[in-house]
Point group: D2
Chain length 233, copies 4
Amino acid sequence: MTRKQPTEAEVKAALEVIFARDSQVYQDRGFMRRIGFGKRPALINIDLANAWTREGNPFTCDGMDVIIPGVQKLLAASRARGIPIVYTSTAYKVPDGANSDAGLWGKKIPTEVLLEGSPDTAIDDRIAPLPNEQVIIKKRASAFHGTYLSSFLKAHNVDTVIVTGVTMAGCVRHTVEDAIAEGFRPIVVRECVGDRVWGVTEWNLFDIDAKFGDVEKLDTVLDYLHRIENEPR
Amino acid sequence: MTRKQPTEAEVKAALEVIFARDSQVYQDRGFMRRIGFGKRPALINIDLANAWTREGNPFTCDGMDVIIPGVQKLLAASRARGIPIVYTSTAYKVPDGANSDAGLWGKKIPTEVLLEGSPDTAIDDRIAPLPNEQVIIKKRASAFHGTYLSSFLKAHNVDTVIVTGVTMAGCVRHTVEDAIAEGFRPIVVRECVGDRVWGVTEWNLFDIDAKFGDVEKLDTVLDYLHRIENEPR
Amino acid sequence: MTRKQPTEAEVKAALEVIFARDSQVYQDRGFMRRIGFGKRPALINIDLANAWTREGNPFTCDGMDVIIPGVQKLLAASRARGIPIVYTSTAYKVPDGANSDAGLWGKKIPTEVLLEGSPDTAIDDRIAPLPNEQVIIKKRASAFHGTYLSSFLKAHNVDTVIVTGVTMAGCVRHTVEDAIAEGFRPIVVRECVGDRVWGVTEWNLFDIDAKFGDVEKLDTVLDYLHRIENEPR
Amino acid sequence: MTRKQPTEAEVKAALEVIFARDSQVYQDRGFMRRIGFGKRPALINIDLANAWTREGNPFTCDGMDVIIPGVQKLLAASRARGIPIVYTSTAYKVPDGANSDAGLWGKKIPTEVLLEGSPDTAIDDRIAPLPNEQVIIKKRASAFHGTYLSSFLKAHNVDTVIVTGVTMAGCVRHTVEDAIAEGFRPIVVRECVGDRVWGVTEWNLFDIDAKFGDVEKLDTVLDYLHRIENEPR
C-alpha cells in the first residue's frame, strides 16, 4: 500500500475493504437502515448539462457512457407514469463583482466558467427536457438551496426523490442530505451518478447509504416506477 | 360612516383616524421602534414588471406616475454608489399540471397569466436593469422564498435592504417580513410602493412600520445613499 | 369621517365598506379564489402563550374569551383524529448583546420581555399541550422561519394547516404567507385569531383571504375535522 | 491490497495515495482554491454532547482526547475576543409517532436514543457553554437546517464560521456545505473534528477542502483569533 501509482481498480478494492469494516460498525450501532420507497416519487437529475457531461470543461465528469443511457431509461419510465421531473444546472449571470450571483463559491471552485444561457450550462440534449419539465438554475451545490424545489415537490405531494447526476462529492451529495432533512425519501440510482476523481463516487455513496438515503440499482428503481400508480395529481 | 360609496380620500381619512389610535397603543407598549439604516445597503425592486406597471393586466397596479420616477432616482443613486441592485418578477414556466411551478398559489390568485419569458413578466423598460444587475424570477410572494436572494445579499455583506415595488399587501410585505427575519434592516420607500385596491397600501405600511421595518420618504433614502461610502466589495 | 374618536364598531363598519369595494376589484380580476381543505391537516396554534393571552404584558392581545374556547374545541377534534398538533411561542435566551438570538427584531418591538423558559412564554394552561405535542420556540414572526416546522409537516405528509392564534398583523399573517409558499393549504379559523389594536385583525384577514389562504368559520373547520379519516401516519 | 484486515494506519496511507492523485486533477482544473478568513468570525461547535463525546452510546465518536482540548483553546480565544459562540446538539422531543420531530431520519440512523433534555444530548461539561452562549437543538444533520443559525449569524454581521465537532461524514460536513451556500466562509479546524469509523474523517475533509471550505490547523485558527479586533457588535 505504499506504491505511488495504484490503478483505479486497486483504489476501489482498497475502499471496499475499508467500507466492509466501517459497515460492520454502523450496523452494530443501528445505522444503515433502509428508508424505502414512498408512494409519490419525483425524478431529479442533477447538473447533467454539457459542462459536466461533455469533454473539455473543468467540470467534465467520467462515466457518461453508463449514466446517460440509465437516465434515458428513468426519463422514459417517469414520463410514462406522469411523475414530476426536474433537471438542475448550475449557472451564473454575473460571475464576479458587486452584483455577482456566485456568492463565495468562486473562492473554492471555477464557477467563472459556468455562464447562464451558455451551451455549457444547457442540459445535455441526449436527455433533453420536454417543454413542460422544470429546469432549475441553481447557484449552490444543493438543488434545494436558494431554489423553489422543496415547495415545488411539496405542492405536488411528492414523498420520494429519485436522484441522478453529478457530482457525488458535491451537488448530488448535498442535494441528498437536504432531501431527507426536508422530509423526502432520497433514492440514489447507483449507475446514474458520478464524479471526476477516483474513489469519490464510492465514498460518498457509502456515506449516503449509511446515513441519508438508499443507494439502489437502476433495475430496482425502474421496477418501482413501473409498479406505481399512474395517477392525476 | 354608513355611506355605500366613500371616495378614496374619505377612505384614507378614516384609516388615518384608526392608525392614530392604534399607534398610541403600540407606542405605549414599546412597539414602532426605529430600525435605522445600516452601512451596506442593497436596492430591491419588487415586481416592477409590465404585468404590474402597465394597464390592462389582472395584476395592474396604481400610482406608477409616482413610483416609476422615484425608482429611477433610486437606481441612479444606487448605481453611482456601486451597491447591489436586484429586481424581481413573478413568473411561471408551467402554470398548471403535473410539472407546474405555480405551487398552490394559482388556487388563490390568477398566476396563470404570468408566463416566464413573456413581455408581461419582463421588467418595465423605463427602469430597465443593466446587464450586470440581477433579475430574480420568483414563484412566491416573498423575494426571499425559494430564491438565492438571502445568500446573494450575505455574500456581499449587505446589512440593509431598500425596498420598492408592488404589491404592498402581497410581495412587498412578505419580502419585508422575511428581510428582518433573515437579519437585514428593511427600509420601505414611501413614494415607491403601491397596490391595486383602496386602503391596502396604507394599512400594510402601517403594519410594517409598527413591527417589521422603517417606512421612509424618498428624499431621506436618497440622502442616505448619497452619504454612504462608494467602496469596493 | 372626520371625528377624532370613532368607536370600535364604527371602525369595523368603515372597514367593511372598504373591503366591499376592494373585494369587487379582486373578484373581477380573478383573485379571492378558494384554496379548499386538503386530505391531511395539522393544527398550528401561534403564540397562545401567557404573554399574549393574559393581561398586563406589552404583547397582551384582545378577544381571549372567544379564542381560547375555540382552540379548545379544535384541540379536542384534532386529538380525536390523531393529526399533528403544533404550538409556537416566541422567546429568547439572550435578549441583547453579542450572543443575542433576537436578531434585529428588538429594534422594532419589545422582544426583551420574552424570555425563554419564563412563565410568560409558556403556553396558556387552558389549552396546554400534551406531552407528545410539539411546542416550537421561534425567534421570528413566521412559525416557519428558522424552525423545523416545514420539514416536520412534510415528513408527516401534511397538506393543510389549520391556523389559530395571535397576532394577525404579525406572526399569524407571516406564518400563513409562508405556509402557502411552502406548499401547504392555509385555513385561518375566523373566531380563533386576534390582535391588540383596532382594525388590524379584520384587515389582515381580508388580505389573507384575497391572496394567501381561506378564512373559515370555526364550525366549518370542526365539521371538516370530524369528517376526515382517522388514519395511521 | 487484498488483505482482509488492514490496520487504521494502512487505511490512512492508502487514502493519502488516492488524495494525492485526486488533488492533482482538482488543482489542474481550478478547484481547491483558498476561501480565506474574513473579518467577523463565529465559533460553531457541532454536536459535542455526551452521546457523541462519551463512551457507550451508538453515536460515540473517536478522538476526544484531541478534540476536547482543542475546542477548549478555541473557546478561550473566542471568549477573549467577544465573538459569537454557538453549540449544537441533535435531540428529539418525540422520537416516533404522529407528532415525531425526527422526520425521516429515524429511518436511517438511531435517532430514537437522542432524547431532548436527557444528559446524553447535553453539551459535554468539559466544554460547557456559558449562560449567554447559544445552544441550538437541531433535528437534522446541518446546523443551518430548520434552525435560526443563519439569521443569528447575519444579524451579528458574521462573515466566517470556524467549525469544530462531529461527525465529519454527517453533521459537520452538511453544516459546512450549507455555510458556504449561505454566504459564510467555512474554516474547519483539523484537530477538532472527528467521526466513528475509519477513513471517514479524512475523506470528508478532503472533499470539503476541495470544494466547500478551508481545512486549517488549530494553531493557524488560534493565531487568527488572537489577531482580530475585539470590537462591539
